[in-house]
């Protein structure tokens, strides 16, 4: 089937800009255009048990973790409700004012080798995501890629851009059934990128496979602040890895480096150029 090139328009810096919805760069990375918009980050509403709940019907394997069939007493139910209510937060609205291209996959080892000439990964394979890369090494990769293509448009996404793209319009955190079909989890090694279902905006492995570095410094808190710290010891990691599970392979998990090394990679974004009319 003949591929269709779709053109859409954006108001950028006071002028309308037309941009393709999909592009491929010189090292074979595919990108999709992510529209500007808003995303709420850090809406924390932990569920808590109520007296009607029972643990008696759970499978045996879970019983140990649930307190051997013992429910809470009245005082504990009350305390759980008070703590969950006390700690609940509405989150912050993040405005993403410019559209951007986001790589559809994590950077692969073939792509990394083309740019950098070596492969730091623990688990090797051209279509596997590159891992064992520090945030600083990633900056070197981006600098070299920009030099190769003679512009400065490539960079890491901000955490807000990453979460906006991962959610693909979803207001709530990801249902577990959806995690299972889209995320590579509970594996012994990384797996080939784009081997599971993409999200609604065509992005693969936003959850699972490797943790992804983003541009922001890490604030050592449960969620991002409205403004990321100006400096810090580590940078934020998003999306969990192949040794993660449904608890942390969610849009919301706000983690920090260094991770395990062998499960830390990245994906890049490309800014929409003003002259792309």
């Amino acid at each position: 089937m003949k591929a269709r090139i779709l053109l859409i328009c954006f108001l950028l810096g006071g002028e309308w800009v037309m941009a393709q919805t999909k592009i491929t760069n010189t090292v074979g990375m595919e990108f999709v255009l992510i529209d500007a918009g808003t995303v709420v980050i850090g809406e924390f509403k932990p569920p808590y048990p109520v007296p009607a709940d029972t643990v008696k019907s759970l499978p045996h394997d879970y019983m140990m973790y649930m307190g051997q069939g013992r429910g809470y007493n009245e005082k504990e139910f009350k305390l759980a409700r008070e703590m969950a209510t006390r700690d609940s937060k509405e989150g912050h609205v993040f405005q993403i004012s410019r559209p951007y291209y986001m790589a559809t996959t994590e950077v692969t080892q073939a792509q990394w080798k083309k740019v950098m000439g070596y492969n730091p990964s623990q688990f090797t394979g051209d279509s596997l995501p590159v891992e064992n890369v520090s945030w600083k090494e990633v900056q070197k990769f981006i600098k070299k890629l920009n030099t190769l293509e003679r512009h400065k448009a490539y960079r890491l996404p901000s955490e807000a851009e990453w979460e906006h793209a991962a959610r693909a319009g979803s207001k709530k955190d990801i249902p577990w059934k959806e995690i299972e079909v889209s995320a590579n989890l509970n594996k012994k090694t990384t797996v080939a990128v784009a081997s599971k279902k993409p999200n609604a905006w065509g992005l693969y492995d936003m959850l699972g496979n490797v943790w992804e570095w983003v541009d922001d410094y890490y604030n050592e808190k449960l969620f991002a602040d409205p403004e990321p710290p100006k400096k810090g010891k580590q940078h934020v990691l998003k999306g969990a890895s192949f040794v993660g599970d449904v608890k942390n392979a969610t849009y919301m998990t706000h983690a920090g480096g260094p991770g395990n090394g062998w499960d830390v990679g990245f994906r890049i974004v490309k800014g929409v150029e003003k002259n792309s009319k």
């Binding site: 509403k45 307190g67 013992r70 305390l79 249902p175 395990n260």
Partner: protein, 227 residues
Amino acid sequence: MTKAINVLIFFSVALSCARAQVPSGFKSLFNGKDLEQWHTSRTSHQGTVGNFYVEDGVITLKQNPYGQGGILLTNKKFKDFELYVEVKIDSFCNGGIFLRSTETGQAYQIELAMPGGTGSLLGEAMQISQGAEAKDIAKAWKANDWNSFRVRMVGEVPKISLWVNGVFMWEVKQPKNDFTAGAIEGMIGLQSHWTALYQAIPGGFNMPGAWRPGAAHRFRNIAVKEL
């Protein structure tokens, strides 16, 4: 005067019995004041912030905010070692001692859960080949009190042994090294389990029994002997 000395000796002995000491030849992992030899895992599925602090000279693990646990890790990695630690655990809280843990918290784990499987050998965030159960723990366990754990872990294919309050529980030789990427060293970790998600979401279950609200696991006299 003699009477005064006898009283002094009596209280000294009583105190030393009540507060057991690190065995000789072990190097302390805790100064009794702060967590300078430890850090919080920022990529654990149990939680990324942890509520870990020193109170009355003991390391205290609680949840904060509600539902979020975490893992406290030594800064240093160990290969072959003996670990000595005294623990006091509130009931209906699921925690554990991690052995050769990765930064994210894959580890061989000695379970801490009363009632439950305290002293069991489990895998945390990874499958292990051979588990173990501390069938005789009731003979050694002091309820609602401090209990000492001594763990020995040796070999690239690990052999792990456990004593609780000086009583031998089990020794397990794994048929293979179960660690991702074949790691042969790792951190010692202390865990508090998660109980709730960030939000109520379809298909997600919660584990309120894994950590009673407001409860704690406490640790003191943590020391290691590298072999």
